[in-house]
Symmetry: C2
Subunit: 405 residues, 2 copies
């Protein structure tokens, strides 16, 4: 018998029928002897509907009031799921964020969880009930309704698991685990039984989109055993996210290949090679709230250097216009860019102790005639920026080169 | 400068456009120098949608969980209205039932308000804000979400007005006041500038359906000045509901004519004329949760009596079956009924001091050849039960007979 926190996303609770299916799954875990706490999202489509209504009221909806409106989505789901459980004879009780209470800071629409009082939940579990908690929401120190931002329900689940000392936090989603790469691109892609926390972080931020990145960080911080499972198919153990390196096992150098098409490259050429120039360029970009991903600066020659970075594609135009205005003050000879690029990355804890991962990537891509525009590396990741037309090909050949199939 | 509580129902906030119109109306009251507290219902259709979802989960939805689901309807409206007000430059803040807090008893889906702490609201008003409160909902002593039942938003508004010592509670609805009778039946029907609390109670319970009856009782108990106004048309003073008899004015004998088609008559004939027989019959009906409206028992002859009463039409079959089973134990000679009847009532405070109202009703109906099946009277009301096909005719001729046009 264990204490399990299960989280079901919007698609998993997207209709009356699906909520009933979730109830069955929860009942099954309980029949196996487990204590179960369930965290749910709003029914799919509901949050978008509410956001649209808010935007009809105000161009930029007031954050406090937006949270009041958005928090209703999850509140509907918890009540419905409690009914569905009672309907099949399972005692259940629902709680909103403020009832539990999920204490957050005051940052409306992107609040951070500060504390959860598990008292009520533990007492309900002790009385044999399934406890259902609204994900995505909490309450501020002033008693106002807060939300955690999109995907926040994953974080709610992990935070609850941490607060309750749960044995496992299970994230049910529309995929059945974490794969070596996207199976739609590489049919040979293989589901990973385990993945390390660090690898998951890289894969999530690189666009694998299986788990919200904040939830993974949270799980790492509080050492919550996290598992990704499919809510749509029966059985299977999904992928377990681990936090300790298994010393007994020689890990594969590369665990998975991630790719991301939401990239645009900007090159600032011939800028004076002196301290402060990087800040001058990126400071302006950051001030405009444009996110920067890869950043590369080559060693300069003849007192000047080239500076390159990538931004999300939707912000490419804005960034280019911004830099055009700055060109003179920066002293750049030219500014160019390309918004038809993509990023392909090899991720793996094993990289730390294996040499040659980067060179294998470069050779594999060269053999296919794929030109590499930018390279960026971290301890457990090698990313290359290439022409987007080669994205699927590069992913396939790298997946094969590292024997991931 | 006054403190006004305004309440807008589901139709008045039924779309983004209508919520913006409510915002304009609130802004106008504020521009006139008033402090304004707004109580709103769920957008029209929303409560029905949520109830339908709940019924897909459970045949009889768990009351606690149903309240969790239903309370979201008003929560969406308060947030949207706050945004709409801010959008036109009016400082505003929304509160759910638990935030205010509207303390209720534990009777989920039909809770009664026990206390409201006006502190937060007064402090917001003091800072120049419009305060928006979710109607229909509250919080139980255990911190659970409760709802007041259909139409409960009227009660929320009156209770808030009482707690805040508001100068007036304005109920905005899709009619512009209380009429002498339904204008769809009698085009000459006239809007009343004032109506007494007692008359309003009779008119509401007789099917005028302008205000929820509990809210009128509440207003009477706490002497809240209550006004019914149209949310759809500009201007007009609506109808003010008063609580003190105006001694200076000779009130008209009859203020309005109400009618109600939701009636079925049941006659139990030839029952022994002895103590306890009324209880024997009505006790069984009450135990089956069937509401009884008019009750008439004639003086008996030869040791037996006839006993008649009316029930809502939808419960007619059930009541008849119930009584058929009881016939022998009651000792009735026969049981008959009719579900094609209606009730027409003349209501007026002036009846107390005027004789002849009842006789004028009987004469007027007799002149039209309308047979009266049952009669029931109270201090300020005379009701007759007649064949439903005469309902409109009876209403028209009575409206004319009492010079209400």
């Amino acid at each position: 018998m264990a204490l399990i926190v299960q989280k079901y996303g919007g698609t998993s609770v997207g209709s009356a029928e699906r909520i009933k299916n979730v109830a069955k799954r929860v009942a099954q875990a309980r029949a196996e002897g487990h204590d179960v706490v369930v965290v749910v999202s709003a029914m799919s489509g509901e949050t978008n509907r509410l956001v649209a209504l808010a935007h009809e009221m105000q161009d930029i909806p007031d954050p406090r009031e937006l949270d009041v409106v958005l928090a209703t989505g999850e509140q509907v789901t918890i009540g419905l799921l409690a009914m569905a459980l009672k309907n099949i004879g399972v005692p259940a009780k629902s709680y909103t964020g403020w009832q539990v209470a999920v204490q957050t800071d005051n940052a409306h629409t992107k609040a951070r969880i500060e504390n959860i009082d598990g008292g009520k939940i533990k007492s309900d579990l002790g009385e044999g009930r399934v406890v259902i908690v609204a994900g995505f929401q909490g309450v501020t120190p002033d008693g106002e309704i807060s939300t955690l931002g999109r995907g926040g329900s994953d974080t709610s689940a992990v935070a609850l698991a941490a607060a309750l000392g749960a044995d496992e936090c299970q994230i049910y989603t529309d995929v059945d685990g974490v794969y070596t790469t996207d199976p739609r691109v590489v049919p040979e892609a293989r589901r990973l039984d385990t993945i390390t926390f660090e690898e998951m972080l890289e894969l999530a931020s690189l666009g694998s989109k299986v788990l919200q990145i904040r939830s993974v960080e949270f799980a790492g911080k509080y050492k919550v055993r996290l598992r990704v499972l499919s809510s749509l198919q029966e059985g299977g153990n999904g992928t377990l996210i681990t936090f300790e390196e298994d010393d007994n096992m020689e890990r594969a150098a590369v665990t998975g290949i991630a790719f991301d098409k939401n990239q645009a490259r900007i090159n600032v050429q011939g800028v004076p090679d002196k301290p402060g120039v990087a800040y001058q360029i990126l400071g302006a970009v950051a001030d405009a709230n444009i996110e920067v991903d890869m950043i590369v600066q080559n060693v300069g020659t003849e007192g000047t250097t080239d500076f390159s970075f990538t931004v999300p594609r939707v912000e490419y135009r804005q960034a280019m216009e911004l830099l055009a205005k700055l060109q003179d003050s920066i002293g750049a000879t030219s500014i160019s860019g390309d918004d038809t690029v993509c990023k392909v990355s090899a991720v793996g804890m094993g990289m730390r102790s294996h040499v040659g991962v980067a060179s294998k990537i470069f050779r594999t891509l060269a053999e296919e005639g794929i030109n590499i525009e930018m390279i960026s590396t971290s301890e457990i990741k090698v990313s290359v920026l290439i022409d987007e037309k080669y994205m699927e090909l590069a992913t396939r050949v790298l997946h094969k080169a590292f024997d991931l199939g």
